[in-house]
């Protein structure tokens, strides 16, 4: 049975790998490679955010009648992560290792605790409460791509 949680979990995993690839390049001082890896990571994250904000969260809100609460917090954290994407991009432009790792340290914690909340509470709730979850899971899989 196709459910939402494994699809989105696999994509979190994929984004984590891209994040680590960019950090490896920064650690080696290869700023050109870091910039390219960072762009791939940000692109994957934006795809993930769009899938959640345009498909998953509205379906959850419609099924539960909860328009604020968890989905609102998740949207706020997406905005916070986007702020950190900008800090990372600026650090690559100035080739500053301190600034890059300062931002990536912050992002790693924010991203991992965000994923933990989604995987531990929100996605299981979505699988429990959304009636047409299999169709939605397939839509999400198509949107986030082959990595999921």
């Amino acid at each position: 049975m196709n459910t939402i949680k494994p699809v989105m979990e696999r994509h979190h995993e994929h984004c984590d790998m891209l994040f680590a690839d960019a950090e490896h390049a920064a650690d080696e001082g290869d700023w050109q490679a870091c910039g390219a890896q960072l762009a791939r990571f940000i692109d994957a994250m934006e795809t993930h955010f769009r899938a959640e904000e345009e498909l998953l969260f509205p379906a959850f809100e419609q099924s539960t009648g909860m328009s604020g609460g968890p989905t609102e917090v998740m949207r706020t954290e997406h905005r916070q992560m986007r702020d950190l994407f900008a800090s990372l991009t600026a650090a690559v432009a100035t080739m500053s290792g301190d600034d890059y790792f300062g931002a990536s340290d912050t992002l790693a914690i924010l991203m991992e605790q965000h994923n933990r909340k989604e995987e531990g509470v929100l996605y299981p709730m979505c699988d429990d409460r959304i009636d047409d979850r299999e169709r939605l899971a397939e839509q999400l899989r198509q949107q986030v791509g082959a990595a999921a």
Partner: protein, 415 residues
């Protein structure tokens, strides 16, 4: 159901911060007392040794762990503590003053201070344990950190109740002999409260800080209850030496697994916080290998002191420093981001160079402390280095918070 899923996120910054900041002066005081206790550290039963142990446990460890608990339970588990600001006001002052009274009471053998300190620490810790247990019971998260945290909180309640009985007995109150067990107090504190809470936190933060694989699900599910049951069996004398051996194997197994996971981390760079973790895990393994030997040694006095240094300075002090250096800078960033205005990234709150300096001073303190049982004069170096390390930490935190306040002032206040 609705209020359980609000993911209220972080409590007000002042709630965890007051506990984390209060921990540091207790660490400094422990350093000074070690340095100026003469040869009192020759045995763990001297008044000075008992006072130092409680400066580290009731002062440094309990305060820092309460701060981490109040931050992590709502954020990572979705367990929102009821009225966190009020709860912090009810718990923090008696825990702090009680900790001071208890330590001074142990040092001076003063019955009034022992009674007042024991009661204040026990009641404040019990209040926090009940509030956190209630919140965790209602939490919607389906993870094993919740279970581990509940066991740890039960361990905290048991530790402070056993400790209160010991404090009251020391103050001259006649209590039934079966309530008075230093061994049970120590096992409940080190293993059921301390190590289980460390497990609960590690399940969350080890993958978070370094992007390691998660702890295996069966380990997360079975390790905390197995540790707690073994500690209870050992503390009650049911399991005998086999129980203690099992406990040591469990502690070493947790530390070994964490080291293994950290070897498989995805993030390339190792920082001072990571090195503090390594010291803590290596110390835990060494302590676990050493502890079973106590039963066979004709005179375990020196080894007991060595074990205390490994567990308290090498283990818990190191891992708490590792967490403070991640949690406080992250919270500064988080609360500034929420407020809008000027932002600070983590390395701008506490520079890595300061944390590395603290790491070197702390490692020297630990090495000196491990030599103290055989060369008592090393206690002076150990104590002064422990004091200096926590002083550096206090200065780094104060500077970071000064920058935070400067940035907060740039935020436009709505008319």
């Amino acid at each position: 159901m609705k209020e359980l899923l609000t993911f209220e996120q972080a409590p007000p910054f002042s709630v965890p911060l007051r506990f984390l900041l209060t921990a540091v002066p207790f660490g400094m005081a422990a350093g000074l007392l070690i340095a100026f206790s003469g040869d009192a550290l020759a045995t763990r039963w001297s008044r000075e040794s008992l006072a130092i142990t409680h400066l580290m446990t009731v002062g440094f460890m309990l305060q820092a762990m309460c701060g981490a608990l109040m931050q992590l339970t709502p954020v990572a588990i979705g367990a929102n503590l009821p009225h966190p600001g009020l709860l912090a006001w009810l718990v923090h002052p008696p825990m702090t003053l009680g900790g001071v009274c208890l330590v001074v009471g142990l040092l001076l053998q003063d019955p009034t201070l022992l009674t007042a300190g024991g009661l204040a620490v026990a009641l404040s810790a019990l209040l926090l344990a009940i509030a956190a247990l209630t919140a965790l019971t209602r939490a919607p998260a389906r993870n094993h950190s919740r279970q581990a945290m509940r066991i740890a909180l039960a361990g905290l309640a048991l530790t402070v109740l056993l400790g209160l009985a010991l404090a009251l007995a020391r103050a001259g109150y006649g209590l039934p002999a079966q309530w008075l067990s230093v061994g049970a107090h120590l096992r409940a504190g080190w293993l059921i409260w301390g190590l289980t809470l460390l497990c609960a936190a590690s399940f969350m933060v080890v993958p978070m800080f370094q992007m390691t694989p998660s702890y295996p699900a069966p380990f997360q599910k079975w390790f905390p209850p197995l540790l707690a049951v073994s500690a209870l069996a050992s503390a009650s004398g049911v399991a005998g030496q086999a129980g203690d051996l099992l406990l040591c194997m469990l502690a070493a197994g947790f530390a070994g697994l964490t080291l293994r996971l950290q070897q498989r981390r995805r993030r390339p760079r190792t920082d001072a916080s990571f090195a503090f973790w390594r010291i803590a895990l290596a110390s835990t393994i060494l302590a676990s290998l050493l502890a079973p030997a106590l039963a066979w040694l004709p005179d375990p006095t020196r080894t007991e002191v060595l074990l205390g240094a490994l567990v308290l300075i090498g283990g818990f002090d190191s891992v708490i420093c590792a967490m403070i250096y991640k949690i406080v800078p992250f919270l500064v960033w988080l609360h500034l981001n929420r407020a809008g205005g000027e932002q600070l990234l983590m390395h701008q709150v506490i520079p890595e160079s300061i944390m590395r300096l603290h790491l070197r001073v702390h490692a020297t303190a630990l090495a000196s402390a491990l030599l103290t049982p055989w060369w008592p004069t090393c206690a002076v170096a150990a104590g002064l280095m422990l004091f200096a390390g926590h002083l550096l930490q206090a200065i780094a935190l104060a500077n970071g918070l000064r920058r935070y306040r400067q940035c907060r002032r740039t935020v436009q206040v709505p008319a």
